[in-house]
């Protein structure tokens, strides 16, 4: 059953990549997944709306699974944030399906993506907690409040870099050590300011 679900989601994603969100029908998804319409409806009783929401959720999970894989094994909080922001930014820029749907039918994608972003924010915060615990938060700063703040900032920068060039490791290091972490973890240890951009390999 899980296999069927996975297959339908992958097939639907392929359809969305080709035709966009609005033009993807249950029939398209069924044909692409080589299952019957009835099977799609049995797997997604809510029909097309449920299927589209599920595909956005699935693509989001895929995205963050890759991101977690990328930052896994980073040795410090700084390194996690730097690697994560750089990889997430590049992945978004290079994400053809996301970019195309954002160009052509953002109003169809954004509500689902916003629901996802709440879940993502909680996920990022939860992921950061052990790193924050290990590093220690500044005096007067609550651990969960800090994790939530960092998750919000990561989401904001990865989708909209603004003035920052997130392809430049030196700028990312500066961003992470100023706007993101300076208040959260307190003063840097001596000699602590050095970009960790070359650490992934």
């Amino acid at each position: 059953m899980d296999d069927t679900r996975q297959r339908i989601l992958e097939a639907t994603y392929a359809c969305v990549a080709r035709w966009g969100l609005a033009k993807t029908t249950i029939e398209d998804a069924a044909r692409e997944a080589k299952v019957s319409r009835a099977t799609v409806y049995r797997t997604f009783p809510g029909g097309r709306d449920e299927l589209i929401d599920a595909v956005v959720a699935w693509a989001t999970v895929e995205f963050f699974a890759r991101l977690y894989e990328r930052v896994h094994g980073a040795e410090s909080l700084e390194e996690v944030m730097e690697r994560g922001i750089m990889f997430a930014h590049r992945s978004i820029v290079e994400h053809e399906v996301l970019q195309r749907v954002m160009q052509t039918e953002p109003e169809k994608l954004l509500p689902a993506l916003t629901v996802e972003s709440n879940r993502i924010r909680l996920g990022i915060a939860e992921f950061l907690v052990p790193y924050l615990e290990q590093r220690g938060v500044a005096e007067g700063v609550d651990l969960l409040e800090a994790a939530d703040f960092l998750a919000r900032m990561v989401l904001s920068y990865m989708s909209s870099p603004g003035r920052w060039d997130l392809d430049d490791p030196a700028q990312v290091a500066q961003l992470v050590r100023s706007e993101l972490l300076a208040g959260v973890v307190g003063p840097q240890p001596a000699g602590g300011f050095a970009p960790a951009g070359g650490a992934d390999g």
Partner: protein
């Protein structure tokens, strides 16, 4: 005209209803109409959203004829809705400007700016209705490229106020950062960090922003930034501050109390 009153409550200080069209010249009558129609539209949006609001509804709510609406907004409904967005942004920035201009130090500027913007966004009834019932429409302005535009507009407007305490480049970054913070907590409110509450906003500014600004300064490419209060601008915060490009040893500019 209950709708007109509703619209006025959306934006305290809106003065459309006070313009007596019979006693002013043609030009300001048109300006008065413009503002009255925009406020009436806000009232309609707060009750029915964009999908169910027609030019007829707007004309009725603003007490003018359909022809007048089209004379002031020849592009019809679309032009009117765009004008509503522009007007609301201008009103927000104007209120923000007054707050930021009156602030006496950087900490205060950040706190009052964040509280003012957060409070106005939260209290905006038309916006609240649209977020609830037509999320795609609002979110389109808050994601990816559109969000970039909003960040640029907001930080361009607020940065000059912050440049009293830091370099223009720094001020631009900090203004953009503050905008991100306001937007994030406005889109997804946090029970523990209510930024319409002055004390919570002050905590966020003191705990996260001021240390971040110091670090930005210490690591930055721009050598001259001074985040001490405006009054003490003529007294360098630490000896040896001027003329050095390597400022890593002067990271504690937020200590504003112990100057000679």
């Amino acid at each position: 005209m209950p709708l007109g009153k509703t619209a006025l409550r959306v934006i305290p200080g809106a003065e459309a209803a006070e313009v007596e069209s019979a006693e002013v010249g043609v030009e300001s009558r048109s300006a008065g109409h413009r503002e009255r129609i925009i406020d009436a539209t806000l009232g309609c949006l707060a009750r029915h959203g964009t999908a169910k609001t027609t030019v007829d509804d707007i004309a009725r709510a603003s007490g003018v004829s359909r022809a007048t609406v089209y004379r002031v907004f020849p592009g019809g409904r679309d032009e009117l809705l765009a004008a509503v967005v522009d007007t609301e942004m201008a009103r927000l920035f104007s209120a923000l400007g007054a707050r930021l201009g009156a602030a006496e130090d950087l900490r205060e500027a950040l706190v009052v700016g964040i509280v003012e913007a957060s409070t106005r966004i939260r209290g905006h009834r038309a916006l609240a209705y649209l977020v609830e019932h037509e999320p795609g429409l609002v979110l389109g302005h808050l994601a990816f490229d559109e969000s970039e535009r909003l960040l640029t507009t907001a930080s361009r407007f607020t940065a000059p106020f912050l440049a009293r305490w830091m370099s223009p480049d720094e001020a631009g970054r900090v203004a953009e950062w503050a905008t991100r913070i306001v937007l994030s907590y406005a889109i997804a409110p946090s029970a523990r960090m209510d930024l319409t509450d002055g004390e919570r906003a002050a905590h966020l500014v003191e705990a996260f922003m001021l240390p971040g600004i110091s670090a930005l300064h210490a690591s930055g490419t721009t050598p001259t930034i001074d985040i001490t209060p405006f009054e003490s601008e003529h007294h360098p915060p630490t000896s040896g501050h001027t003329g050095h490009t390597d400022d890593t040893e002067h990271t504690d500019h937020t200590d504003q109390g112990d100057e000679p």
